[in-house]
Amino acid sequence: MTGGAPGGRALSAPIMGRAEEPTVFELSSPGRSAWSFRTTGVPEWTAEELVPADHLRPEPLALPEVSERDLVGHVTRLSARQYSVDLGAYPLGSCTMKYNPKLCDDAAGLAGLAGAHPSAPAALTQGWMELLADLAARLCAITGMHAATLQPPAGAAGELTGLLLMRAWHRDQGRQRTKVIIPDSAHGTNPASVTLGGYTTVTVPSDARGCVDVAALRERLDDDVAGIMLTNPNTLGLFEEDIAEIAAAVHEVGGLLYYDGANLNAILGVTRPGDMGFDIVHMNLHKTFAVPHGGGGPGAGPVAVSERLAPYLPGPLPIVGDDGAWEWFTPARSIGRVHSWHGNALALARAYSYILANGGDGLRKVAEAAVLNANWLRQRLRGSYDMPYDRPGMHEFVASAASLKRTAGLKAVDVAKRLLEEGFHAPTVYFPLIVEEALMIEPTETESPQTMEALAQALERIAADPEGASAAPRSTPVGRVDEARAARHLIPTWDARPEPRTSE
């Protein structure tokens, strides 16, 4: 045959076993094609007529040449090698992998939303502007803040936006501060964002109860502190009970409080960052508000702020003009754009439809069930795993395999891989860093009590029978993956593969 691997073969679909799926480059056969374009009637000038010679590509760019059939087969088979929320529970701590209602897919698929060019004049996008404005208003109501930007496309982008807001505010106070405090339990994006925001990270330790050590915090507070970044509940799933005291102390030295909203799911309708004293809040709509995670994005990381910070928000923002129509407005002292347009708009539309569907009552129920599931599971697993902070928590908890590692050689990673075999996704492991052999478990509110029971039993089985866990997982599309080799012999593209290639 002239070239290419067989395309119509389901060998790699798990339904047919555990064989590999060739890359699309291997399926390629010269001259084959799937593309199809509209008949336009536009004159058919040649490339040479259209492109100056010194710019013209000498030969076509090599892309895979496959039929639509083979492309569909390839991608469908690859999808069958992928775990997902729609297949089963995903208790990945900090990530809030809840079930995302299908009605939100419909919302995001509306032609009147997906088909809009972002540069269209406001008169032509009034629906979008109303949606964005109402979403911002609702997020403010949920967080207890005054105004919000929807531009940041993810949580980390929200963090950096928030830090730049902090920076601009301090600048206008007449003094540029240099430090931002974060707890030792913080997510990695926090310190990374601090650096990109032009600040130095100062770490504050957690106390024995898993919360910010207030005394240690006070030691670190001075008038060079721009602010503090906290999640509440924190990454241990514990509510920072001293938050009012912390807020007062930080405010006292002229600092601001930044709320990392990754854990907002736990407190919907229960308490609000604004009421706790936070000045800046980012939300991960892809965690709390049913924007599906897409294998790693897109998400949305809106930032809401208190009144004094509102003039600094990125613009443009939709506001109602004199004639009652929506128009764009950029705040007086705006830090500038943080996204080339209005953020991940379709993700925002998904979240909006989710908030509409739940309403105030439903969001509160979300928090209740999320916290109930997590506490039930923690209580249930106390006999099987170490619970370094063994007290009532919120929507997630951090267990530890430290004892099991010592007694039976069962590491956190082994628990994770065994759980894959048991039909569940693994928890987050080795985070937060302050817990040895951490297993960070977040069941979310959409898993039923029956699923919680099954998850508990699976985790109990693993702890009770740690034998051979290092060989896990055995029933997955591939066995344990050699991560070290990937870094040592880096193959970041198909073109970098060492083997000789016969065709492309």
């Binding site: 259209l50 809840k98 419909d106 897109p298 708009a345 593209t493």
Partner: protein, 440 residues
């Protein structure tokens, strides 16, 4: 409604009893009384699914989109066709509802798609390595400049005014934190006129640039060499179907916007930041990178790699703070590029260029419409109009067209017009006729 919480009242009671609690309020005992939200959220109760659909439908119906509004606007977001195969494959729930592939044994689907994506993005750039996506072209630009500054050790940046102004604005915003000094470099008749000398960390140019003009990348490379800088090229990947790759001109970093491949305009998001660089810079690569490896039994497997660059490990010293990126949009891009293939990408670029030439010719035939700049263009062009461009856009909307993007004063006004493969000759003829009418 709380419709998506499965627990029945009986089950909640049972679970609470197991915890020794008597009400759901007790679950929040660690939240100080004073902070509790009395009376619940000030928000209407939940709506049923059809009610939500009706409300979303109402909002969607208010926006003007195709076919009521035929799009000739670009400026970074383009009205390309998304074929049914790309749509239906991208939205397989296994891709849509998965998290970042932290457990590679059950994430080979997403990982292999990203590996294929990286390969194709690297080829588009003409460079050796690409990452697994960034938020949008603008954020890719920011990261590209950050890489260049870190690699060169110099924080001054020559930034061509031919770079998308919205992206420049984003770069400026983030430079407040990183402290980069951005030096705007002006256009002369549509192409960048680089300073003769200076020492900078990055030279940034767009190809074709914001006005649609073909910059001289050889010139930009020489300017970078003179200044001791890395060359960061903002590249339109569709045009790459006809143009020499930025890598072939010596670019160190190539960034771009991947929306044209498989994602609708979406009011400007989600978009897709394309990022590629030379292998020598891989330790500074921002964001995720997928690599090929094997599993315990020697089977080919994929995994995110060189993780020590990343924020969760490197923390304040990370090459970037990116965590969640735009994976699903990258998956769509990989599918769409495979659907296009070698011939389709070329054909796509060709069709855009043909439509652009045809439209440009039609507009320039109208009294008072003139080219804004003289440099050759490919798939987008700017014209001076007898009435202000914003007025043209406004009036053309009544005629059923999004006429283009009204340029700011920075460019001396003018209208930026983009033509994709979707535009038929009939649409273009009607557009030109309406144009003639509204500029009169």
């Amino acid at each position: 409604m709380g419709h998506f919480v499965p627990h029945t009242d009986a089950e909640i009671a049972e679970m609470l009893a197991f915890l020794g609690l008597s009400s759901t309020e007790d679950l929040f005992a660690t939240v100080p009384e004073a902070l509790r939200l009395a009376g619940g959220l000030a928000m209407a109760p939940g709506l049923s699914e059809p009610d939500v659909a009706a409300e979303m439908g109402r909002l969607a119906a208010v926006n003007a989109v195709f076919p009521q509004l035929v799009c000739f606007a670009g400026g970074g977001v383009y009205d390309h066709e998304v074929p049914a195969a790309t749509r239906s494959l991208t939205f397989r729930s296994e891709f849509v509802t998965a998290y970042t592939p932290y457990q590679p044994e059950v994430a080979q689907g997403v990982l292999q798609m990203l590996f294929e994506y990286q390969t194709m993005v690297a080829r588009l750039a003409g460079l050796e390595v690409a990452n697994a996506s960034l938020y949008d072209g603008a954020s890719a630009l920011v990261e590209g400049v950050n890489l260049a500054v870190a690699a060169s050790g110099r924080s001054t940046v020559w930034l061509s005014r031919g770079v998308n102004p919205s992206w420049r604005s984003v770069l400026e915003t983030f430079s407040a934190g990183t402290g980069h000094e951005l030096v705007d470099v002006a256009l002369v008749d549509g192409v960048t006129a680089w300073p003769a000398d200076g020492q900078v960390g990055a030279v940034v140019v767009q190809y074709p640039n914001y006005l649609g003009c073909l910059e001289d990348l050889g010139e930009a490379r020489r300017a970078a060499d003179r200044a001791g800088a890395l060359l960061v090229v903002v590249s339109d990947p569709v045009s790459t179907g006809l143009l020499r790759s930025p890598g072939s001109f010596g670019a160190d970093v190539v960034v771009g916007e991947g929306q044209p491949f498989g994602t609708p305009m979406s009011f400007g998001g989600p978009l897709l930041g394309l990022f590629a660089c030379r292998m020598s810079h891989i330790r500074r690569l921002p964001g995720r990178l997928v690599g090929e490896t094997v599993d315990v039994e020697g089977r080919t497997a994929y995994v995110t790699t060189l993780r020590t660059r990343e924020q969760d490990i490197r923390r304040e010293k990370a090459s970037s703070n990116v965590c969640t990126n735009q994976t699903l949009i990258a998956v769509a891009c990989a599918i769409q590029l495979s659907w296009l293939g070698t011939g389709g990408l070329r054909e796509l670029a060709l069709r855009c260029a043909r439509g652009t030439r045809y439209t440009r010719h039609a507009l320039l035939g109208i009294d008072g419409v003139a080219p804004l700049v003289g440099a050759p263009t490919l798939r987008e062009f700017a014209v001076r109009t007898p009435v202000p461009a914003a007025t043209v856009v406004e009036r053309m909307a009544d005629e059923g067209f999004l006429a283009g993007v009204a340029l700011s004063d920075e460019f001396g006004g003018g209208l930026l017009v983009a033509v994709t493969e979707r535009r038929t000759r009939a649409e273009i003829d009607q557009y030109a006729a309406a144009f003639e009418k509204v500029v009169r």
